[in-house]
């Protein structure tokens, strides 16, 4: 266990090192940060002076050495735009993103398992077919489109007049397809609950939850279909196996068979995929946060790119790299708990 963790920490350091080198190497391609910092009519000489002050005229190797020396001491430099240490800026924005990811993950867990299991147990039921159909559509719609559609339907509202309004049934159908709107379409709202440090939470007020809903739904919309299909496929396979048939023959209640014996074995590959997907979800937050003006790290990162705020870009990439390493480590540990026959690398057999 300890050896495993040490090995993972070693990997993490390696990952961070590689990320920092790569992001330093591409920084010239990211554009000129000074243009974003000064007005258009500032003279070349003034700009050159500022460039010198920021140390941007030094050779790239010198700049990297300076960065690396500070980085090992936990200082990833100051953001050009915010004028604050990059890690502070990221810590300010990270809670918003984590809450979004947590909310989306909860939705995925609590929806995909029942739906997936149901679709596996009753593959021919019309409801199963409906879920499978919707998930095919869901998986093929890009997340920003989902987000825009959600905003139009539930924030702005649509009025439908496809059916003759003078007939009772037409009016009824029109009403069914029309929406009122009114859901918050941007930001985290005013009523946040302060937890600790820089963490303000959306989870503890009605207003906060309302603001969280649409972004979380659109973020979940990419992963949910994937998990439903995965759980269904795995579950169907498990249901064919001998021990399930034996349990059924023995007369154990179907509920117990499905949710205790079958589901446990279904979850193994799901956890593996899940770990990887949480990382990908952090990446998808960039799109979701942009559409919903959700003040998390994804939006911050996108703006840092348009501003060529290189220190912030580098720091973000390193933090996200770290998150990937940590989630994968946690997934491996959890995997070991669910399935004791799996050996962690580094653990003595």
């Amino acid at each position: 266990m300890l050896a495993f963790l040490v090995q993972r920490i070693g990997q993490a350091i390696l990952v961070m090192f590689v990320i920092s080198v790569i992001s330093f190497a591409i920084q010239d391609g990211l554009g000129d940060p000074l243009r974003q910092m000064v007005g258009q009519s500032v003279s070349d000489a003034e700009r050159e002076q500022l460039r010198e002050d920021l140390g941007l005229n030094d050779p790239i190797v010198v700049q990297y050495a300076r960065f690396a020396t500070n980085a090992v001491q936990g200082d990833l430099g100051n953001s050009y735009f915010y004028g604050e240490p990059t890690l502070d800026v990221i810590m300010d924005h990270l809670p918003a993103t984590l809450e979004l990811v947590i909310a989306a993950s909860l939705m995925i867990i609590f929806l995909s398992i029942p739906i997936g299991v149901y679709a596996a147990i009753r593959p021919r039921a019309w409801l199963s077919k409906f879920f499978m159909g919707v998930s095919t559509v869901g998986i093929s719609i890009p997340v920003f489109l989902t987000a825009i559609v959600l905003i139009q339907l539930f924030s702005i509202g649509v009025t439908v007049d496809w059916f003759p309004a003078d007939t009772g049934w037409g009016q009824w159908l029109n009403d069914v397809f029309s929406t009122d709107g009114g859901m918050p379409s941007y930001g985290r709202g005013q009523e946040l609950t302060h937890l600790f440090g820089t963490w303000d939470s959306n989870f503890f007020s009605w207003d906060g939850l309302l603001h969280l809903l649409l972004p979380a739904v659109s973020l979940a919309s990419i992963m949910l279909p994937l998990f439903i299909r995965l759980i269904r496929a795995e579950m169907m396979e498990v249901l064919q196996s001998d021990y399930i048939r034996y349990a059924q023959a023995k007369g154990i209640s179907p509920w117990r068979i499905n949710f205790l014996h079958a589901l446990k074995n279904t979850m193994l590959p799901v956890i593996t995929v899940g770990g990887v997907q949480i990382g990908i979800m952090v990446a998808y937050t960039i799109l979701t946060e942009t559409v919903f003006q959700w003040p998390g790290v994804g939006l911050m990162f996108l703006e840092a790119i348009t501003r060529s705020d290189i220190p912030l870009i580098v720091a973000y990439l390193m933090v996200v790299g770290l998150i990937f390493v940590i989630t994968n480590t946690v997934v491996d540990l959890v995997y070991g708990l669910v399935n004791p026959t799996v050996k962690l690398t580094g653990k003595k057999a």
Partner: protein, 521 residues
Amino acid sequence: MKRLLTAFVSCVALAGAPMAGSAAEANKELKMAYDADPVTLDIHEQLSGGILQLSHMTFDPLIRWTKDLQFEPRLAKSWERIDDKTMRFHLREGVKFHSGNTLSSEDVKFTFDRLKKSQDFKAIFQPFSDLKIIDDTTFDLITKEPYPLLLNAATYIFPMDKKFYSGKDDQGRDKDMVSKQVDTFASRHESGTGPYIVTSRQQGVKVEFKRFDDYWDKDSPGNVGHITLTPIKENNTRVSALLSGGVDFIAPVPPTDLDRIKRDPNTDLVTMSGTRIIIFEMNQKRVEAFKDKRVRQAIAYAINQEGIAAKIMKGFATPAAQLSPEGYQGHVDGLKPRYDIAKAKELMKEAGYEDGFTITMMAPNNRYVNDDKIAQAVAAMLARINIKVDLKTLPKAQYWPEFDNRAADMMMIGWHADTEDSANFYEFLTMCPNTDTGAGQYNAGNYCNPELDKLVEQANVETDRDKRAKMLQKVEQGLYDDAAFIPLHWQDLAWASKKNVEIEPILNVMNFPYIGDLVVK
């Protein structure tokens, strides 16, 4: 009892000064969304639209522009010319800063000196030699040479609270320090005379303002007591926020959504022809053919500005044949876009380029409205006179370094004159490039006409308005005749609000909404 009292107070107010009643009851809420929030609270740190918009909320200028580009007294109640180089200003009395200090000439002097230290603003104040204090409420602004744009520059003087910004902050730095790199005192704290006080601010998330109780302008009809400014960068999200009722006022409105907002019964749309000109510069250093006036004219004849404004900009632009928009001194009424393909072909033939040639072109793709689409249209139009264009569009962060290197034969640039004056266009875009004086800093065409330059220089020391206007118009005409560059259009401005927010009276072509005077029904 309370109601009685209110009724009594408003009666008195109505009898005394008709407007004062509304100012006393600034109790409306306003949620507004811009595409970005202010980078800093220090109004001297960056010269940008966002900072100037903030300046008009938290501070007040000595004088400000009215809708029709005239000057309106603000903190300076009057001014008079003493001699060629000196203008005397008289401050309003008893004006309070947010800190409670009283405004005096000392504060103006402090602000003036600080402006001269600011990287972004010093250029505007370069023609000034001194600000001399006469007494508590009187001071002289003195220029090195006779300077016709003295009042234009005075619109940039937003007096800062000298006492408040003096001394050391908790990190031992001077409180009046202006810096883009470090977190200064002024970038986090403000004390101005403006209608709004910043009560909280989270960069990139929101800024909250509350009406300043002791605001000097009791005649202001403004009745907004509390403002939340949220930056919403995505155009779609900003428009949705307005349509869904999440915010009351948005700017800018993207051209693609103008119709959507117009159709909505609950929102108002205000558009205005803007002053930011979009042009292409033809680099004469890189392309031999561009040295020939006839080739440049041929290109000018080949471009259909009206078409671009109608089709690509969806009517959200004013087609241009010159740099100066209407209302500027250099604007020449007669200059119209000269689209005529036959004439263009003829000129190319005359110049010996009937078979055309190949050039490179660069434009940004996220700086101006539809910039990349405009560039594609221009490239297609040039193909009709046999000029093949190799077009590359880049994000602005990558575009500007390329622009500085003059990396393509034709490059796009948009320009807004900080001084709201024609000469600014010429100084930066068309004067012969000169690294010593900084002239022609953005003249990527390397166009050079010493005669016109001389006229610009003369105009810059001519204080007689009419004479000066004649000179500037002569320059504009000369540039047109020479086809020094290819003007496309002035980008329009657009704002939108809920019906009960009366934005129209507070908007202007500089895009500094005077939120202090905003009335919400």
